[in-house]
Symmetry: C2
Subunit: 402 residues, 2 copies
């Protein structure tokens, strides 16, 4: 019998699974309660306070909020196997003032953020209750984390802090983030990204009177064209995107300033570095070329690339315990668990070489990041996902068998 088969066959796991099932209404209540506490980007505090209170109510040890706002709570294991983090993110993509009231239709819940990642936050609570009710002891300690800043400009700042500043940072041996819905795919690779806001400035001037003066739009165009001609590997998948641009004030004026936002991504840290270097080289080349081409009597073109997003690439080895255990656990419950690359809280762990996966939270859902976001908490399917997730964690953290 494999380790996962042993776990699934154990009385303890069966008891925990029964609790997940019996307790499902409470799990749904937790989703609703947490969803209705808005948690906009850089404004997660209110939800964090509520989540901290829930951790305390469940009896976790050492509950608190760290320097960046992550909520953490410890569930001690036998002390034999390091520390396994089980995380979900507190933040949503929705700005302050968004109506987060949950509308229920049958087994469907509609609300901004209800699935991404509020269901994930409730999953952690369900796990804790099931583990406790079943008196399960794990080999490694479990650190439950509701982290801030996963979405967009949050730039993974919560998990970044966890691995660089938090008191537990050096003890973490495995990292789960419960995010997304489907368990048919298992995130074992981190697509890294670098995002830049590039400003090009120059002296400007009247379109007629100052004709010939260097124009920062020319430098911007040089960078965009250069990027479009850049060869990138298909495998590891590596991409660039000239996404957003703007600048200039009047049709009859050479612009003083224009700007460009660029998104660079790769499954491979080295390929991302190479692409990043190419972009910086293109910027320098563009500035030099325009200062060479045009008149610089009133001033020169300059460029400044501001890093506005930085998510490291990485991957977890296929034969690592977290991947083999999670794959086996998910497949045991009928999920495909096909490995994929994505950009999640697991990026940071993967980039540091700490085994990590991102596991779906189960059930069904859609329209994430839109006001029409929904999840389906139809119990059978929902509980199947929860149970598979718990099995994956136990397969990784180890179930101590008295």
């Amino acid at each position: 019998m494999t380790e996962i088969e042993t776990i699934l066959a154990s009385q303890q796991f069966k008891a925990a699974a029964a609790v997940l099932k019996a307790d499902h209404d409470r799990f749904v209540d937790d989703i609703i309660t947490l969803t209705e506490i808005p948690s906009p980007p850089f404004g997660e505090e209110k939800r964090a306070l509520a989540y901290e209170a829930m951790f305390n109510a469940l009896g976790l040890e050492d509950v608190g909020r760290d320097g960046i706002g992550n909520v953490t709570g410890l569930r001690r294991g036998r002390g034999n196997g390091g520390l396994t983090v089980v995380a979900a993110h507190l933040d949503t993509v929705f700005p302050e003032g968004t109506d987060c009231t949950v509308r229920r239709e049958g087994t469907k819940l509609f609300a901004p953020g209800v699935g991404d990642d509020t269901r994930g936050l409730a999953v952690l609570l369900a796990f804790i209750r099931a583990l406790d009710a079943a008196n399960i002891e794990t080999e490694s300690d479990l650190l439950f984390v509701g982290d801030v800043g996963e979405e967009g400009k949050g730039d993974l700042r919560g998990v970044r802090h966890l691995f660089t500043e938090n008191a537990y940072r050096d003890r973490i041996t495995a990292f789960f983030t419960m995010d997304g819905i489907s368990l048919d795919r298992l995130v074992t690779g981190a697509v890294g990204s670098r995002r830049y806001h590039i400003s090009f400035t120059g002296p400007g001037g009247h379109s007629l009177a100052a004709f010939g003066t260097v124009n920062p739009a020319h430098a911007l165009a040089h960078v965009v064209t250069g990027l479009s001609q850049t060869e990138v590997p298909e495998n590891p998948r590596t991409t660039y995107c000239a996404s957003v641009l703007g600048g200039g004030t009047s049709i009859n004026a050479i612009p003083n300033a224009v700007w460009l936002e660029v998104d660079l991504r790769s499954e491979d840290a080295g390929a991302l570095e190479d692409l990043d270097a190419t972009l910086h080289w293109l910027i320098a080349e563009a500035v030099a070329a325009e200062n060479q081409r045009g008149n610089t009597e009133s001033g020169v073109i300059a460029a400044k690339a501001e890093l506005i997003g930085n998510r490291p690439a990485g991957r977890t080895a296929e034969d690592s315990r977290i991947v083999t255990a999670t794959t086996a656990a998910l497949q045991a419950f009928g999920f495909k668990a096909e490995p994929e690359f994505s950009s999640t809280d697991a990026n940071i762990a993967m980039s540091l070489g700490i085994p990590a996966v991102c596991v779906g939270t189960g059930g069904d859902g859609g329209r994430a990041h839109s006001l029409e976001e929904w999840i389906d908490v139809e119990p059978e399917n929902s509980v199947r996902g929860l149970t598979a997730g718990l099995a994956a964690i136990l397969g990784t953290a180890g179930l101590w068998n008295s």
Copy 2:
């Protein structure tokens, strides 16, 4: 004696000049009155109504507003010499809601639009009073015009209408626009311009998932780079400017749409046509190149160039009566009257081969198009400019000597 010398020596002209001097306070009052009636782009009606009333009060014939909003009033001559237009523009660059209250400090007046071109409007009124008081008859009829739409996106629509739709359109034999301050320069050439808003569209898509899909920003960059490499003649002066650009919605998305505004100018109609053709060729090339380079499964790049400004080039012959008479008149009063090209209401006349100049309104001033715009109405210098301008008109329209 030259014709101008004859005019300047005449009792009639001396009488008119004396009126310009004696009447200067009223001229200043007119400037203040008209400046304080806001006249934003495409919102000249209120000032036009007041100006129409002033034309009526001065006894001009056939006073009215034409189909586009120009105020016109006729002062008949001897009927021997066609129709000389003397125009100033009603519109300012300042948007609705701008405080146009005039602040006076000594001989200086401060207010948005006070010089450009409200002083010009008052100059016409001063001319009419002086001509009447001196009982001057001109050879040609004089049509006084307060025109709309000279500035920016107004795109010379008032004067364009005057020459294409107005009932007087076929009778005009000479065209003066009183605009700008200095009489040391005399606008005898029209810098033509074509202004485009170019939209580039494509299917868009996720920066990672849809990588390789055609990107409209690449086409935009191709056009900007191509334009920056375009050879244009120095003489006739011909210029281009990639002025304003924008587009894209999110750093992690290939944009659906980006846009670019381009200003093309030339002193020569043919050179402007050539440059315009180059721009259109570049746009077509950019679209084709990006559709060739990228993946077009979800859609193709398309571009649309919308003409948002169109001012024809042209020039008035150096030996035309309007140029020789005006130059002589201005120089007789100590002004340099150096010929220059500019973009003014005179563009339309020049492009149609109708002799035209743009003459400064005199006095001193600065900061036009800014909220700190000012003029100096110190009487001696101010009256010198007015008198020179009137001499130029009489030299062109002909002073009938009984």
